[in-house]
Symmetry: C2
Subunit: 303 residues, 2 copies
């Protein structure tokens, strides 16, 4: 099956202890789209400015992504600049230039509106809701968000959360959203807001899924060298949704394998700047890594 992903397509300027790059390809829909495209056909719905290099569009199209929903308008592309300190656990923002993102008022192309899997990558919750309402009988709706929306648009965010199946957030966002210092007591609080299932990303510490009765606790893939964490969460979520769409089923074991897929892809994302590490990633290599990861985490073949 196929996936529609709505989110940002951006140009990032990033400095980490391992290097510094200006105006490189980024954005929540970009990372999520390329990750999901490893498994399933993807439609991206987003907006860019006239400065957006056409080779980036070609790159997306070469990676299983339909870009008919990526609108080009006069002005500059959304630009995020930031840096990471030594432990790279947190992104520090220097500037967020919304630019053309201020005009983003998406109308889903026919094809995108008909995709059975819908992933609302990090974006204004008002727009996320608009997109859900335009989607025709989606099979599964997955949503990501960030601190900024929890702090500034909590009412709108709670409004859209009533409509989603799976919420994917990180540990800091869970604390902010639920007021719980620890993750575990925060999980049922999330489900009270609407989602049937929540996944919390904990970076180097892995992720946890909660469906209202059972947990699934997954470590991260062990990495000796981290280059740039930007896009790790987006590629985790994109890989998760893409894997689910390929499988076409929504039983527990499929959700668990989808988390492993997201874990493995995001472990590649952080080993280089921008989308570079994903350019050479193949499904064959991912399948080999599934086996290695199972061994490290003690998991049986079935997962």
């Amino acid at each position: 099956m196929s996936v529609t992903i709505v989110g940002t397509v951006a140009l990032d300027s990033i400095e980490t202890p391992k290097g510094k790059f200006e105006n490189i390809l980024g954005g929540s829909a970009t990372f999520a789209g390329v990750a999901a495209g490893l498994f399933s056909p993807v439609d991206i719905v987003s907006i860019v400015g006239e400065d957006f290099p056409s080779e980036h569009i070609s790159f997306l199209q070469a990676n299983n992504i339909n870009t008919d929903g990526v609108l080009t308008v006069p002005g500059k592309t959304f630009h995020w600049s930031g840096y990471y300190k030594d432990d790279m656990n947190q992104a520090y923002t220097i500037a967020t230039d919304l630019n053309v993102l201020l005009e983003f008022d998406p109308t889903l192309p026919e094809a995108a509106a008909n995709r059975p899997y819908l992933f609302l990558a990090n974006l204004d919750p008002v727009i996320q809701k608009q997109v859900i309402l335009q989607s025709k009988s989606p099979k599964l709706i997955v949503l990501d968000t960030m601190n900024y929306w929890i702090e500034t648009k909590i009412t709108e965010l709670k409004d859209v959360l009533k409509l989603v199946d799976v919420l994917i957030i990180n540990d800091q966002e869970l604390r902010l959203l639920t007021g719980q210092t620890n993750i575990i007591p925060g999980l049922p609080e999330v489900l009270k807001l609407g989602p049937k299932r929540v996944i919390v990303k904990k970076g180097e510490h892995g992720s946890v899924m909660y469906n209202g009765s059972d947990y699934f606790l997954l470590p991260a893939f062990p990495l000796p060298n981290l280059i740039d964490p930007t896009g790790a969460g987006d590629s985790f979520a994109g890989g998760f949704v893409g894997y689910l769409a390929k499988a076409g089923t929504t039983d527990e074991a499929t959700f668990q394998r989808a988390m492993i897929a997201g874990t493995l892809i995001s472990s590649h994302t952080v080993q280089g700047f921008s989308l570079e590490p994903l350019k050479t990633l193949t499904l064959d290599h991912l399948n080999e890594q599934f086996a290695i990861f199972r061994s490290y985490a003690g998991l049986p073949e079935g997962i």
Copy 2:
């Protein structure tokens, strides 16, 4: 098989967001000993003052522990007082009164010197080495330490590390010992110091074992309510060693199950003050929890 544990037996004064208690039973050998005693006969080697309540000795003896090696001398028992803030991730020390610990110069009783499993709980590395040299043909030597010894007695610590099979430390201690900000690249650095195997405890994020070629990544048991983290690391290590001693084998799967045993026991320790939660813990209950934990972590029966 049986275990000798050398470490502190203490009286603690502790405040957490969930309560405050003065002069309650604590110490690295106490927590480790009671945890290990769930699986195997234990000898504790330690020192206490004349103020140490005899009911604590009776409690240890009632929990599979031989206390012939616990010396009582004139003076006051080792006393630690500290507190935890809201997230309970870090202990803040108010006072460390070494008291009779200053005179600790252990001579292992015959029985303790002959135990095949030796666990050197957190203690001065000079004393840890003394104990190893008194131990007669140990089958497995496991060692724990803390920031204080890494900062003040690194030469002596490196000296004893050459003699141990397994080092168990937490993530902060690993960073301090290896100078590596991230855990994964720190693991091979530890093995260069002597241990054949290292286990890093990450609190609510679980633990990781590395044997020089393979990792074993284990989540923590999900807990909705944390009362007092004191002794969590000691009971993890004690449960680990006690389980190994009971099994009597040192293959990878046994080491992995031993980590789960430590994980489960420490999840009880943190749900109350002092040793209270361990007083009612039974092997039957632990076995039920093994099954639940396997389900949460996706692990098969064999692990």
